[in-house]
Amino acid sequence: MRNSIRRLKHRVAKLTMAVMFGCLATQAMAAWPSDQPINMIIAYAPGGGTDIVARSLVPFIEKHLGDGAKINILNRPGAGGGIGFAAIANAAADGYTIGFINTPPIITIPIERQAAWTLSSFDYLGNIVDDPGTFCVHQDSPIKSLAELQAFAKSNPKKVTIGSTGVGSDDHLAMLMFERAAGVALTHVPFKGSSETRTAITGKHITVAAINVGEALQYLKSGSPLRCLGQMTAQRMSMAPDWPTFKEQGFAFEMASLRGIAAPRGLPSAVRERLARAIERAANDPMFKEAAERAFAPVRFLAPNAYEAEIRAGDSQFRQLWKDMPWTDR
C-alpha cells in the first residue's frame, strides 16, 4: 500500500517535471503566431455586417495559420470606422495586430479630414468581401429603371429623397456619382445603417434606397417589397444575374464596398506572407464560402497586390469626386 503510494507520488513528480519542462521548452521555442493571441480590430460595433463576416472567418484563419494560433476580435467602433482604422494603422507591425478595413471610408476619411492614417500606413493582406451598390425603390413606385428615375428627378429637382448609410458612405458617394452622371439633383437622407434605410423604404418614407447588392438580396429574400434598379458593377454578378449594370443603362460608374484585412505597414516578410496565405485559404474554405454566401456577403478574394491596387485606384477616383462635389460641409 505504502509502496504504491510512493510509486504514485513518484509518478506525479515525474509528470509534473515533464509538464514543467514541456512548458519551458515550448515557451522558448514558441514564436509568432502561437506565443500570444493576435488581435483583430473591427472598426464597427458587434453584430454589424463586417463584424459577423469577421467572426465567421476567424476560426478558419486560425485553422490555416496552424500552430494553435489564436485570434481575438476587438471592436473599436465609432466615427464611421475612423477610430478602428487609426488603431490598426498605429499598432506595432509585429503581426499581433490585424484588422478589417472597409472602402470607401478607409479612403475617404483622409480626403475629408485630418486622419491618423494614409493609404501607405497599411500592409494589405487580402480582400474578403466585395459588395457593390444598388438603388432600390418600393414595389409600388412608378419608377422602373434608372432612366425613369433620371427623368422623374429631372422634372422634380430635389424631390427625390434617397436614403444612405451616412455621410461619405459608399451609398452616399454612389448617389453623388449618379447625380453627376445623370445631371440631376436628389435629396440625401443619411441613416445610421442599412437596416434603417430598409425600414424607411419599406414604409415608403423615402423614394430610393441606396444600399448594397448583398443587402438588397437579403431583404428581398425576407419579403421586403423592393424593386432594384441595377448594380454598380463592371459585369452582372452571379448572385443577381437579372439586374442590369448601371453601365448597361448608360450611367458609367462603379461603386462597391470592399471589406478586407490589413495590418500596420512594415510586417516582417515571413509573418506577412504567412498571414496572407492563411487568409487566402480561409477565404476560399468551402465552409466559410457557403456561410458567407448564405449571409449574402459576396466573397471576392483579392491577393495583397491586387487588393492594394484596387484601393489606390479608388483613391484617385474619390479625390476627383471630392474636387467636383465635396460630400461633407467643410
Binding site: G48, R76, P190, K192, T202, S222, G223
Partner: protein
C-alpha cells in the same frame, strides 16, 4: 384542420427542443449570459456577438437558443451590480440603478433582487407571449414609425427627465442639457463635420454610453462612500428568508405596474429604433407619473423598479417581432440574430413562418424555457450576490474600482474608456454634491443621438417645413401627448416659481 396542423408543428417543435444538445447549449449560454450581464461594461449584445463563431458549428436551433438564453439572462443580471454597487451591469438597468441601490442601503437587497428576478421572468414571458400571438400586427405598426414618430418618441423620453429625479425640475433640466450636450460630441450625422472633438480621434466617435454610465453611477458613489462614510461595514441586510415568499406581496401590490411595464416594454422593444434601455427609462417615469406616492421615488421604493425591470425584459421579446416578421432588427441583439439566421440558410420575414414553422415554434418554446431557467439560476446568483455584498467595504471598494476600470476598458478596447469613466465619475460627484441629479444626464446621452438624427432626417424629408411633424397619424398622436405633457410641466414650473415669489413676498 388548422388547429390540427398547428398542434402537429408544436409537437414537432417540442421534440426538437427537448434534445440533449439543445438543452445543454441553452443552459450553458444562460450561465454565460448571467456572468456577462453582471459585469459592467459587457452588454447583452457583446455576449451574443461572442457566441457568433460558436453558432457557426451548431445546427440552427441551438444556435438561436443560445442567443435567446444569453440575452435574456444578461438583461436580468445587469440588475445585480445595479442594486449592489449602483453600477448598472447593462444600460438597460441604468434607469432604476439609483432606486435599487437605495433599497440595498436600507437593507432590502434581497427583496429588491428577488423582485427584479420575478419581474424579469414574468416581463420576459409577456414579451414572448406577444411575440407568439401578435407579432404580425405589432410589426405592422412598428414599420410605420418613421423619423417623425421617432422624433416625438425621443421628445417624450426626454421629458421623462423631470420625472426620474426627485429633485427640483430646474436642476433636472440642467442635468438633461448636460447630457444632450455630451450627445452632440462626435461626427455630425448629417453634415459629416466633427463637433467638439478637440482634434481627438477617439472623441470623433462620440461619448460612449457605457463608460460614462459606469463613471457617473458607480465611480461617483465610490468616491462619496469612501470620503463620507470611511471604510465602514456594509449595511446590515434584512433576511428575506425564502426569496419567493414575497411573490404574492409584489403580485398583489404592484400588478398594475407590472402589466403596464411589460406592455410598454414589448411595444418599445418592437420599434426598430429603440430597445430595452429606452423602455426601462420611460417605464420608470410612467410608474412615477401614475403613482399614488410619487414622493417615495428615489428613496428605495419598489414601484418604479417593478415597472421598469419588467419593461426591459419584455422589450427583448418585443425586439424579435420585427426581426421575425420583416427581418428588421428591433435591437442590436436581434441584428446579430438575423445574421445568424441567414448564415443558417433561414430567411427571417413572412416566409419563415410558412417555410420553417417547426423551428419558429421551437424558438418560442426556448424563449419560454430560457425565461423559466432564469428563476433557479437567478436565485443562485442572488444568494451569491447577497453574500458578496456582506464583504467588508474595505475589501469591496477596491474590487469595485477595478471592475469599473475593466468594464470601461472593455467597451472601447482602449484607455479612452477609462478616461471617460474618470471624467464622468468626477463630474457626477460634483453634480450630486450640488444637488443636481445625474439620471437626466444619462437619459440625455441615451436619447440625444436619436433626437438629433430623427429631427434632422425629418426636416430633410419635409423640405424644412415643420408641418411634417404633425401630418402622419401616429406622429400627430404622439405630438399631442408630448405637447400636453410639456404644457403641464411648464404650468407646474411657472406656478412653482410664482408660489415661491409669493412666499418670498409674504
Amino acid at each position: 384542420m388548422a388547429d390540427f396542423v398547428i398542434s402537429e408543428h408544436v409537437a414537432k417543435a417540442i421534440i426538437l427542443v427537448f434534445d440533449s444538445q439543445v438543452l445543454g447549449v441553452v443552459f450553458a449560454s444562460a450561465i454565460f449570459g448571467l456572468f456577462v450581464g453582471a459585469i459592467p461594461g459587457l452588454t447583452a449584445t457583446m455576449a451574443a456577438a461572442l457566441l457568433v463563431p460558436m453558432t457557426f458549428f451548431m445546427p440552427p436551433l441551438p444556435a438561436l437558443g443560445a442567443v435567446v438564453a444569453v440575452s435574456a439572462m444578461a438583461i436580468f443580471a445587469g440588475d445585480l451590480p445595479a442594486a449592489m454597487l449602483r453600477m448598472p451591469g447593462t444600460p438597460a438597468s441604468a434607469a432604476y440603478a439609483e432606486e435599487s441601490y437605495a433599497m440595498a442601503l436600507q437593507g432590502k437587497l434581497e427583496l429588491n433582487l428577488s423582485t427584479n428576478l420575478i419581474c424579469s421572468v414574468a416581463g420576459g414571458l409577456v414579451g414572448v407571449g406577444f411575440l407568439m400571438l401578435a407579432a404580425p400586427l405589432l410589426a405592422e405598426v412598428a414599420i410605420h414609425f418613421s423619423s417623425f414618430e421617432y422624433f416625438w418618441l425621443s421628445c417624450l423620453g426626454v421629458s421623462c427627465a423631470s420625472l426620474i429625479s426627485g429633485k427640483q425640475t430646474s436642476h433636472a433640466l440642467l442635468s438633461l442639457l448636460f447630457g444632450l450636450g455630451f450627445a452632440c460630441v462626435g461626427i455630425d450625422p448629417v453634415t459629416g463635420v466633427a463637433r467638439f472633438t478637440v482634434e481627438s480621434i477617439e472623441l470623433a466617435g462620440g461619448i460612449h454610453l457605457i463608460p460614462s454610465m459606469i463613471g457617473a453611477f458607480a465611480l461617483s458613489e465610490l468616491m462619496r462612500s469612501s470620503a463620507e462614510q470611511g471604510l465602514s461595514l456594509a449595511p446590515v441586510q434584512e433576511k428575506i428568508g425564502a426569496l419567493f415568499s414575497n411573490l404574492r406581496f409584489v403580485a398583489t401590490t404592484y400588478w398594475q405596474n407590472f402589466l403596464r411595464g411589460s406592455l410598454l416594454g414589448t411595444a418599445i422593444g418592437a420599434l426598430p429604433g429603440a430597445g430595452a434601455d429606452v423602455a426601462a427609462w420611460i417605464s420608470y417615469a410612467m410608474a412615477k407619473r401614475f403613482s399614488k406616492q410619487p414622493e417615495q421615488f428615489g428613496k428605495g421604493h419598489l414601484e418604479g423598479i417593478v415597472e421598469s425591470t419588467s419593461s426591459n425584459n419584455a422589450a427583448l421579446g418585443g425586439a424579435w417581432i420585427p426581426a421575425l416578421v420583416f427581418g428588421i432588427p428591433g435591437d442590436s441583439v436581434t441584428a446579430i440574430v438575423i445574421g445568424v439566421l441567414y448564415m443558417k440558410g433561414m430567411n427571417p420575414g413572412p416566409s419563415i413562418f410558412s417555410q420553417t414553422p417547426d423551428l419558429v415554434y421551437a424558438l418560442f418554446i426556448i424563449f419560454i424555457l430560457a425565461n423559466l431557467l432564469m428563476l433557479p439560476l437567478g436565485w443562485l446568483a442572488i444568494k451569491l450576490a447577497a453574500r458578496l455584498f456582506r464583504t467588508p467595504r474595505a475589501l469591496l471598494l477596491p474590487m469595485i474600482l477595478m471592475t469599473c476600470v475593466l468594464g470601461s476598458y472593455a467597451m472601447t478596447n482602449s484607455s479612452f474608456g477609462i478616461v471617460l469613466m474618470l471624467f464622468f465619475g468626477i463630474l457626477a460627484w460634483l453634480m450630486e454634491s450640488h444637488d443636481i441629479p445625474i439620471g437626466p444626464m444619462m437619459l440625455g446621452i441615451v436619447l440625444g443621438g436619436l433626437l438629433e438624427q430623427s429631427f434632422m432626417t425629418s426636416m430633410i424629408k419635409a423640405d424644412g417645413k415643420m408641418i411634417g411633424f404633425f401630418e402622419r397619424p401616429i406622429a400627430a398622436g404622439l405630438s399631442v401627448i408630448t405637447l400636453c405633457i410639456w404644457s403641464i410641466m411648464l404650468y407646474r414650473l411657472l406656478s412653482g416659481i410664482s408660489n415661491q415669489n409669493a412666499r418670498r413676498q409674504a
